[in-house]
């Protein structure tokens, strides 16, 4: 480690090699150089929200096309691009970054840390994901977007471009873009694990951690082990397309099924990467709005870990129709049934939490309850897929589309909305409007079910996925119209949310949140809203699970809550602000801003284009920028002492 503090001359030696150190912590430029986990969390959230709107527009175009039989709005090629990009966007640019957004902002606050373990690596992860998003979407203007489906099955995607299977460079953009996004999510996974394991406040033992933190830890491990597998699969697709390797070329002994194994060995853990953060969010909101501790904390935690392990043993249930043979099919059918157990256990834990609680039906609570109901429906149709004959019938129909939208929208997105209403007051210091919020919830719930419930029936009636039009007279017409209307209700509801954010937070019409608007249980509610840059003026000493709650309340002999006179929210808040005032935050050294995370991410971008267009110039530019960024990063001290 460069011992900056000990030898001031060393600082002078460093200077010539690095760009001038950015110092601004406010203003537009500060967002490009920030290493503050809270600002990076906000940027992740904004990015995910923007891509949620883009992916939503793609979905609406699909539904306009399918509103009636023999739709003419889109060509087959356009339709392929739209459903491919819709799936890719929602998984890699909405679901994963949204979870990372919540994790970035709240994991350090919930464990009593001042930042993450690697602040600059954190910024790098964000910029890579942003660059990957720009890269993927630039394909629309550079000869056509990816059009081989979000899972890009071979040999369709791996056949060289001149064979004419898929026109354009879409699959190249897709392979390279997802590898880039994988770099971003791997770095953020490493960061989460190091932060959660290493930076917990004194007394914050693992079994005192909020469940959301636990779930982010499991997700980080899943990401860490799943991303390299998809990276290898994508490298093979890319080299098959561009360098005539034969990984998936049957005439040279290659096996296209290998791709499916690799993809789903990543893809099924990926499902849990997407849903576990949502489970973590509702495990925070349900206790707060029921004024009860989470029912069976340890069981919820261990169920999450069990899902993390079992998630690696179920991938082939995505491939039951490929002829794996009876033994493999039976084994994967059983393991798929098995994973429903820890998932089901959690649902009972959440119900047990709400049971006999003093429930407050805030918008956040409504979305959390909606999560339980909708996710249960999605889980039930999932169990159907473990029954192989049933799955073989449903494969590649709209039944599957219905299933995973119930899990991912009914699960993740409901939890995300709940988390937004719950936590945005902490992030921006203003409450979101509850009346608008409730309209947001009910329209979303109605729109969601109108959109996705009829898809079950459409699937059972035999409507295949990924077809850009269908004939009339198959009994699908009416339900497709309902689905399309439902999709627009979802869009309207999402717009209501955006309006709510703009009015309540942007225009500052929302009520001032204060430190602890929900009578919360976890440490983030013990500090001001928005939190100071250094989070905690004094690092908290944690004595129990739901530590902040126990600072506020005790129980009498009959189990009734009694507010503690001295440890109440206001007092704790005053103490904190007093301590912060004393030092003015000046005594706390936070990591200094840095430009190099952005430089490194920008170096990856031309390399991506070089790979797609097989051009040397951008490759050299990218490598030079990358090398410069790495060395400058390595030499730059993380904290400027001056």
């Amino acid at each position: 480690m460069t011992t900056v503090a000990e030898s001031p001359s060393a600082v002078a030696v460093h200077r010539p090699l690095v760009l001038r150190r950015p110092t601004a912590t406010t203003g537009a430029w500060s967002w490009f150089t920030t290493v503050d986990h809270k600002k990076i969390g906000i940027m992740y959230g904004a990015l995910a929200l923007v891509f949620f709107l883009i992916g939503g527009i793609e979905a609406l175009l699909i539904r306009v096309q399918l509103f009636q039989p023999n739709g003419t709005v889109l060509t087959a090629g356009q339709y392929n691009q739209l459903f491919t990009m819709h799936g890719t966007t929602m998984v890699f640019l909405v679901g994963m970054p949204m979870a990372v957004a919540f994790g970035n902002y709240f994991v350090p606050l919930m464990i009593g840390a001042r930042d993450v373990a690697f602040p600059r690596l954190n910024a790098f992860g964000f910029w890579v994901v942003a660059a990957g998003g720009v890269f993927l979407y630039s394909s629309f203007f550079l000869g056509g977007a990816p059009d081989g489906g979000w899972f890009g099955y071979t040999p369709l995607t791996s056949t060289p471009i001149d064979a004419g299977f898929l026109p354009g460079r879409g699959p190249d953009f897709w392979a390279v873009g997802i590898i880039m996004l994988g770099i971003g999510s791997t770095t953020s996974a490493i960061n989460f694990i190091a932060t959660i394991l290493n930076l917990r406040a004194p007394g914050m033992t693992l079994m005192r951690m909020p469940v959301f933190v636990w779930m982010m830890l499991v997700v980080a491990f899943l990401t860490l082990f799943a991303m390299p597998i998809i990276t290898v699969a994508l490298i093979m697709v890319f080299t098959d397309r561009n360098f005539d390797t034969t990984f998936f070329l049957a005439t040279k002994g290659g096996d296209p099924l290998l791709y499916q194994h690799l993809f789903w060995l990543f893809g099924h853990p990926e499902v849990y990467i997407l849903i576990l953060p949502g489970m973590g969010i509702v495990s925070e909101t349900l206790p707060v709005f029921s004024r009860k501790p989470l029912f069976g904390y340890a069981v919820v935690v261990f169920s999450g870990i069990a899902i993390g392990f079992l998630g690696w043993g179920v991938w082939a249930h995505h491939m039951f129709a490929t002829g794996l043979g009876p033994v493999a099919i039976a084994a994967f059918g059983l393991s798929t049934m098995l994973i429903a157990i820890p998932t089901g256990v959690k649902i009972f834990n959440w119900l047990g939490t709400v049971w006999k609680g003093s429930v407050r039906l805030t918008t956040a609570m409504l979305f959390s309850l909606g999560f339980i109901a909708m996710f249960t429906l999605g889980g039930l149709s999932g169990v159907l897929h473990s029954i192989v004959p049933s799955d073989t019938q449903q494969t590649d129909t709209y039944f599957v589309v219905a299933h995973f939208h119930y899990v991912l929208v009914g699960g993740l997105i409901f939890a995300v909305f709940g988390g937004m209403y719950y936590w945005l007051p902490k992030v921006f210091g203003r409450m979101l409007d509850e009346r608008l919020g409730k309209v947001n919830f009910w329209t979303f719930l109605i729109g969601f079910n109108l959109t996705f419930f009829p898809m079950h029936l459409l699937g059972l009636y035999g409507m295949p996925r990924r077809t850009y039009r269908y004939d009339s007279g198959l009994g699908w017409d009416g339900m497709n119209q309902i689905v399309s209307v439902g999709a627009f209700i979802i869009a309207l509801s999402t717009l209501l949310f955006v309006v709510n954010v703009i009015v309540s937070i942007g225009l500052k019409r929302g009520a001032v949140a204060g430190n602890d608007p929900w009578d919360g249980r976890t440490l983030e509610w013990s500090i001001s809203s928005p939190p100071p840059e250094y989070n905690f003026a004094e690092v908290p000493e944690v004595e129990s699970r739901d530590d902040f709650w126990h600072r506020k309340y005790t129980e009498d002999d009959h189990g009734h809550l009694l507010p503690l006179p001295s440890g109440g929210a206001e007092t704790a808040a005053t103490q904190h602000s007093a301590a912060a005032h004393e030092t003015g935050g000046h005594g706390i050294h936070m990591p200094s801003p840095s430009i190099y995370p952005l430089v490194l991410a920008l170096g990856l971008l031309p390399i991506g284009y070089a790979a797609v267009f097989k051009s040397w110039v951008p490759l050299i530019i990218g490598v030079v920028v990358l090398a410069f960024g790495m060395y400058a990063w390595g030499i730059e001290p993380a904290t400027d002492e001056s």
Binding site: M1, T2, T3, V4, A5, A10, A113, R114, D115, A117, F118, P119, L121, T186, A189, I190, I193, A194, L197, N198, L199, R200, M204, L224, F225, M227, P228, I229, T231, V232, M236, T239, F243, T245, T246, F247, L249, K252, G253, G254, D255, L258, L262, Y534, A537, E538, V539, E541, T583, G587, I588, H589, M590, P591, Y631, W633, E636, P637, A638, T639
Partner: protein, 224 residues
Amino acid sequence: MSTVEQSAEVGGSTSTPVPSHDGGGGAHGHDPHATATGVTNTKLAMWLFLSSDCLFFGAFIAAYLLYRGRPGQVGPSPSDLFDIPFTSATSFILLMSSLTMVLALAAIQRGDHRRVRIWLLATALLGATFIGGQVFEFTEFTREGLTVSESVFGSTFYLLTGFHGAHVTIGIIWLLSLWGLSNAGRLEQGDSERVEIAGLYWHFVDVVWIVIFTVIYLVPQPGS
């Protein structure tokens, strides 16, 4: 890539023990066990990265094993190409570089900067010798007709060993960078963790080679 985060002390002016927020706690005289696990952030991060990299090589090795000895492949077969004594020699050289790596770490922990530089350079040179052997081997095999597009053997062989070679090359650049830092007098005894982290990576790459060498060169091909 030197993802070695440098010291970032987020210590407060309070008396509360703060989890040290840096890579190598020792530099600031903190208790190295200041992190909740006792492992420094940087070392933990390197272990995590390596665990992830295991899956990267694992997927390529799985593909190699799946395609091993597939019937109907044209072009030269492994038994036509492999020169086991030659590859054993370069493998031995690579494994010896782990020894010099350990000596480099021991040297910096003692503060013997001259030997640090010698052993870092020796490790890099041994690694470069291995890469030289790989380049020779690739050239030779290509001349004998094995290309990436010839058969699944060619594709899996070149990509698996090629990505391993790329890992070794990155390791060499890393070692030379540390050597340069040491020459500039900026690799202090207190920075020994930087060498240790590079060493973790280097040993990992060696261990992966043991697996690859065994799987590709030593285990006989079915039907050959």
